[in-house]
């Protein structure tokens, strides 16, 4: 920031946050106004984490829970928790055309 000078401690924290936010422009799907953005939502974006949002529900998660499965294991840091689709279980999502509808069809994969 060049035109505002942080004076008290909270202002320094706000400034730090603003500067940091610029470096890592990761935003949530639900953020308004909607922004041109490839959803790479993960817990970097907002603190509450995956399982529950700040109110204890799932509505405010950085992305709909149904999307976790794909965004996480393809694009994020969580691959260890889902089958390795590149090498080991290429057809793991074969029966799951729409995660929102078909997620029950995703089965466990056992080491062969």
């Amino acid at each position: 920031m060049t035109h505002l000078k942080a004076i008290n401690r909270k202002a320094h924290r706000v400034e730090e946050f603003v500067n940091h936010a610029k470096d890592q422009d990761v935003v949530a799907l639900q953020q308004t106004p909607a922004q041109p953005h490839i959803p790479l939502g993960c817990s970097l974006a907002f603190s509450p984490g995956w399982e529950a949002d700040s109110t204890g529900g799932t509505a405010g998660l950085c992305q709909p829970v149904e999307r976790d499965i794909f965004d996480c294991h393809l694009g994020c840091f969580w691959p260890a928790h889902v089958p390795d689709q590149l090498n080991h279980a290429p057809n793991w999502t074969g029966k799951c055309a729409t995660a929102q509808k078909d997620w029950r069809k995703l089965d466990l994969v056992f080491p062969g």
């Binding site: 035109h3 505002l4 004076i7 008290n8 603003v18 936010a21 422009d25 106004p33």
Partner: protein, 492 residues
């Protein structure tokens, strides 16, 4: 970010919540609800001025200010102001600004205030505990008149069980020293138990000073017990309300005892706590008397808590008068600390510390959260002012905190539910004000104290100006708040 901003260029920018103030010729912005303070430059001032009446798009701001500032400066400043949420796009509120989040539980207990007795040897006519506004019947009610040693010990165990590494115990009354034997044995017991538990415990008390005598003063000094004296100032002001049961004033009794206490007890700074009424608003004179005549290190003032019908209640004109006097003494404080001289007007110092940290409160004080009151029978209450009241009970020292009652209390007193406060820029510091004051005025702790909003805003504005001045003239004084905190954390 640039592309996003382009997309928003058609939407008007409007002012968000903030309060502007000046100090040492600088222009500052106090942001709400973040409580961050930024200094504005000339383009920043001009932009906020332009947005004063209605929203404008970024382009219209740029063209309006083009003869005064380069386009790039206006655009950069707009970006800065949007980033800190001083301004924002019309109809697009920050979703997280009104979220009601309760503190993480269990919240560690920091302080218990022990009402070691509810009896008093004075009969101060404005007293909230005995007067017409009392909550608990201490004369014929079910609570014991004195706390037993057993209950005091249970209170120690309760505090050490619920606290973090550092615990505070404050002795209160009635007149605290009427139960000096229990106080004395409790300090010894608490020290021993704290050492066993690997915790640090610290003690303080409030007294009217009538019962101070050499052996008590010796005990307080030797045990590093913090002392606050309730006192209203020069003789005729002290004797106006602070009287014995026979109506006689207490000044001549307490004056020599306080002088002896201040002479002997040097291990901790001793403060005076003044209750202001409509009939005794004379802040500077009271301050002078207590610091110069007596040598108190600090003096704090609070308006009397009472229903508005009482003659001594402070009304609108009284609050105006009090504000004028607070401002005068506040400026004297500023001129002292600007050149590193001590000044003991504690109201301003406490507020400056909160401003410096950028405190933004969901609750007006720590009551029911980090601070709890304990009645003579060991009932735990929201704070000492509610000790013994069944309606404000949050458990007992024996059974612990009633977590359900505590959660309900926190649910019902959150700033998010005080809709009257939602348009007030002073809410990060005030959060609706004292629960007890609200209870006396409106019959419920849940209401914000709307009768003194103007006073709160006026006083907060004054403290912000003092802060702004000090940020230029003696920033090291403000940095001391950080150092003190770092020191306290180092102990942990």
């Amino acid at each position: 970010m640039t592309s996003i901003r382009k997309g928003l260029s058609l939407i008007a920018l409007t002012r968000r919540e903030f309060h502007q103030f000046e100090g040492a010729g600088r222009h500052y912005l106090y942001l709400v609800p973040s409580a961050a303070i930024f200094e504005l430059d000339a383009p920043g001032q001009a932009i906020l001025q332009s947005l004063n009446e209605k929203g404008r798009t970024e382009d219209s701001l740029v063209s309006e200010l083009s003869d005064r500032f380069p386009t790039s400066a206006v655009r950069e400043t707009i970006a800065d102001l949007v980033n800190v949420r001083a301004i924002g796009y019309e109809h697009q509120r920050d979703e997280d600004s009104s979220v009601k989040m309760l503190p993480m539980m269990p919240f560690p207990l920091n302080t218990v205030v022990l009402n070691v007795t509810n009896q008093c040897n004075l009969a101060c006519t404005y007293c909230y505990e005995y007067g017409e506004d009392k909550i608990v019947d201490t004369e014929h009610g079910k609570q014991s008149k004195f706390m037993s040693e057993a209950t005091a010990k249970q209170s120690v165990e309760f505090l050490l069980r619920e606290s973090g590494r550092i615990a505070h115990m404050t002795f209160f009354g009635g007149e605290t020293l009427l139960n000096f034997p229990v106080l004395k044995s409790t300090v010894a017991y608490a020290r021993q138990r704290a050492a066993e538990a690997g915790k640090t415990i610290d003690f303080s008390l409030t007294t009217n000073a009538t019962l101070l005598k050499p052996e008590i003063i010796e005990f307080l000094a030797e045990n590093d017990i913090g002392v606050t004296i309730s006192m209203d100032g020069p003789k005729e002001l002290q004797n106006r309300f602070r009287v014995f049961h026979n109506g006689e004033g207490s000044y001549d009794v307490v004056a020599p005892k306080i002088k002896e206490l201040l002479r002997r007890h040097r291990s901790r700074p001793i403060g005076a706590r003044v209750t202001l009424t409509s009939e005794t608003i004379d802040v500077t004179r009271i301050y002078r008397h207590l610091t110069e005549e007596f040598g108190f290190w600090e003096v704090g003032f609070a308006p009397v808590t009472t229903s508005p019908q009482q003659q001594y209640a402070i009304g609108d004109s009284g609050f105006d008068r009090m504000l004028g006097q607070f401002r005068e003494l506040g400026h004297e404080f500023l001129e002292h600390v600007a050149v590193n001289k001590h000044h003991g007007f504690s109201n301003v110092k406490d507020t400056l510390e909160e401003i410096h940290k950028g405190v933004s409160k969901a609750y007006p004080c720590g009551a029911g959260l980090g601070l709890l009151g304990v009645s003579t029978d060991g009932d735990v209450a929201v704070c000492h002012r509610f000790a013994g009241s069944d309606n404000h009970k949050l458990g007992t020292v024996r059974d612990g905190i009633d977590r359900q009652a505590q959660t309900e209390f926190l649910e019902h007193h959150h700033i998010a539910d005080k809709t009257d406060c939602h348009t007030c820029w002073a809410r990060p510091l005030c959060a609706g004000g004292c629960y007890h004051e609200a209870h006396v005025r409106y019959g419920t702790t849940e209401r914000p104290n709307l009768h003194y909003c103007e006073w709160i805003r006026g006083w907060t504005d004054t403290c912000l100006q003092i802060y702004g001045e000090l940020a230029v003239r003696n920033p090291d004084f403000l940095a001391r708040f950080d150092r003190d905190e770092a020191k306290a954390e180092a102990v942990l």
